[in-house]
């Protein structure tokens, strides 16, 4: 059976070109198109393609971020990146390990990439994450019944670390993710603040600080009924920085 392919590129001519090249090759069937990372993830959940041809540079969620989210899935599709010219990304890829194609794409190279396409391994994803350092993700992905749930960073109220997992509390509920609190703090440092050894809260949802009878500090977040404990050291800093 021919592999089922999803084409992801923000530019219509680029999608058209891939479509016609794939038609020529006749070794894969195109099952859909998407114009950005979010759209791509949505379609992947619905259509379950075997291979995703993923443009690196796209407005909104880019290809690298989409690929990182994809791996939350139990059965992630294989990924082949396409890029016109993108120094950091191209440098990060080991051509044999991660499939990527330079635009304008040659038919032979596309055929070879399709034949060797495979899903990204965790080390490769870490490599990608490192290569796009300084570029914050726009979303957090959590494993979910339907496969994966995307949580926009603006909706995240806090991250709470457990022994093994991290809980992300957001405006639409709660999910478990595998990202470590320290890595999250590094990535989203400006918009979040560490209030305790195990909690990273969104600055935009900070409401007030309370102190209970035992002298412990708690922070109240907008839309969260339960207060979160604040370490003594951070309480003073929070008050000063955010005038709580």
């Amino acid at each position: 059976m021919k592999p089922r392919v999803l084409i992801v590129d923000d530019e219509l001519p680029a999608r058209e070109r891939l479509r016609s090249l794939l038609a020529d090759l006749d070794s894969a069937s195109v099952i859909g198109e998407a114009a950005n990372g979010e759209d791509a993830l949505k379609q992947i959940l619905e259509l379950h393609p075997d291979i995703v041809l993923l443009d690196v540079r796209m407005p909104g969620m880019d290809g690298i971020e989409a690929a990182r989210h994809l791996n939350v899935l139990e059965k992630a599709p294989a990924v082949i990146f396409t890029t016109a010219y993108d120094e950091y990304a191209v440098n990060a890829f080991d051509a044999r390990a991660v499939g990527y194609l330079l635009k304008p794409i040659r038919k032979e190279k596309l055929a070879a990439a399709l034949a060797h396409a495979h899903r990204l391994s965790p080390p490769q994803l870490r490599q990608l994450a490192a290569a796009s350092a300084g570029k914050r993700r726009t979303h957090i992905a959590a494993r979910h019944r339907e496969g994966l749930r995307l949580i926009a960073l603006e909706d995240v109220q806090y991250f709470l670390a457990d022994q093994k997992y991290t809980t992300v509390r957001h405006t639409k509920g709660e999910d478990l993710i595998e990202d470590a609190l320290r890595a999250l703090e590094e990535e989203f440092g400006a918009a979040f603040v560490r209030i305790h050894r195990n909690a990273l809260v969104s600055v935009r949802y900070l409401e007030r600080i309370d102190r209970n009878a035992e002298g412990q500090y708690f922070v109240k977040l907008q839309g969260c009924p339960a207060p979160l404990q604040v370490s003594r050291r951070m309480a003073g800093e929070l008050r000063e920085r955010f005038r709580l």
Binding site: E11, P13, A14, P59, Y85, P104
Partner: protein, 358 residues
């Protein structure tokens, strides 16, 4: 030699005197000066004896001076060129005066019987010190001038090299080139006539980019280049890109440096339209008031803007070339106002005939 980025142009022009290389250079300079001084007057004790004595004294001065400059190090840079040079001159002069007095005291007490010593150390200590200090000022001054000129020369070469690289990078964004090629590759199948036009447009754009940047063209020609660029981007971005042109009142024959408008439009599309999934509108307005032409380019910005590093090269390049042509009368302003990024150009309306007549 330190790498250029370690201490940018704040560094003082003097080399680092803490190195053994510098000490060797000092010894060489001292020996040459000693030779010059010995040759310049009668050698009562014979040439070699006089040379040895002069060398001995000058080595004191030279190495003590190098030690002093080594110790001062980067502190001189903070004073600026003029005050730093004056400080060095004063310090070296003071050092020479001190060492001269010490040498005089030592020389008179130990070498007093020697006839040559009487000649070397006159009865009046002041004339001895004064002579040494005067020679010192002249030699130090010359040395400072030498260091300054070589430093400026080296910096000039570095600046020229950087400017050349910057100019090249400002011309064509690789991202744009490869994406356009990809678009054309797609069009050759789906719409060969459009592909043909795109190739012609790309050729015209490259010709404009490769032409001598110092040459001037008319405003109408420059607007045409910008429109050609827009046509290429339109193929790629489709309905995401809107460009509104309000330039009817601009004088067509006005003289401008080539690539004045196109790089600004390119920046506006690259930073303002491409990062937005829904696209947006770039507005180009132009007007003539009195003899001043004003052109304003606006593009929308979002908070996610910071994700794409700003390329200020193009803007710096436009500013530089307008200033080259119109000097103080040209103005380039840019900044973010609410949700828009606005670049304003203002320059005098001059046409070719009038310019050559003036």
């Amino acid at each position: 030699m330190k790498p250029a980025d370690a201490v940018p142009d704040r560094s003082f022009y003097l080399p680092d005197f803490c190195t053994s290389r510098a000490a060797l250079a000092i010894v060489l300079i001292v020996e040459l000066t000693a030779m010059l001084l010995t040759l310049a007057h009668d050698n009562v004790n014979g040439f070699w004896t006089d040379l040895a004595r002069t060398s001995l004294f000058l080595l004191w001065v030279g190495l003590a001076g190098a030690g002093l400059l080594c110790w001062l190090g980067t502190r001189l840079g903070r004073l600026g060129v003029a005050r730093g040079s004056l400080t060095v001159l004063l310090l070296i002069t003071a050092l020479i005066a001190l060492l001269s007095m010490a040498a005089y005291a030592l020389g008179r007490s130990t070498l007093v019987s020697d006839a040559g010593a009487a000649m070397l150390f006159p009865a009046d200590s002041r004339s001895f010190v004064l002579r040494n200090v005067s020679i010192g000022i002249v030699v130090t001054g010359l040395a400072l001038r030498y260091f300054y000129v070589t430093h400026e020369w080296r910096r000039n070469i570095e600046m020229q090299a950087t400017a050349r690289v910057n100019a090249l990078q400002a011309r064509i964004r690789p991202h744009f080139l490869f994406n356009s090629m990809n678009t054309i590759a797609a069009l050759t199948r789906s719409d060969p006539a459009l592909a043909e036009q795109a190739v012609q447009d790309l050729a015209d754009l490259f010709r404009a980019n490769l032409s001598d940047q110092r040459s001037t063209i008319t405003l109408a020609e420059e607007c045409e280049v910008a429109r050609i660029y827009q046509r290429i981007e339109q193929l790629r971005l489709g309905s995401r890109l809107h460009v509104e042109w309000k330039i009817d009142s601009l004088p067509h024959a006005a003289l401008v440096p080539g690539l004045l408008l196109q790089p600004l439009l390119e920046n506006a599309i690259y930073h303002g339209i491409e990062p937005q999934p829904g696209g947006g509108t770039v507005t180009v307005t132009g007007e003539l008031a009195g003899d001043l032409i004003t052109i304003v380019v606006r593009n929308p910005v979002t908070d996610a803007q910071s994700v794409r590093e700003g390329n200020r090269l193009a803007l710096a390049n436009v500013r530089e070339r307008l200033a080259l042509l119109y000097g103080e009368r040209a103005l380039v302003k840019s900044g973010r106002f609410d949700a828009q990024y606005i670049v304003t150009l203002r320059f005098p309306h001059i046409e070719r005939e009038r310019k050559s007549a003036a």
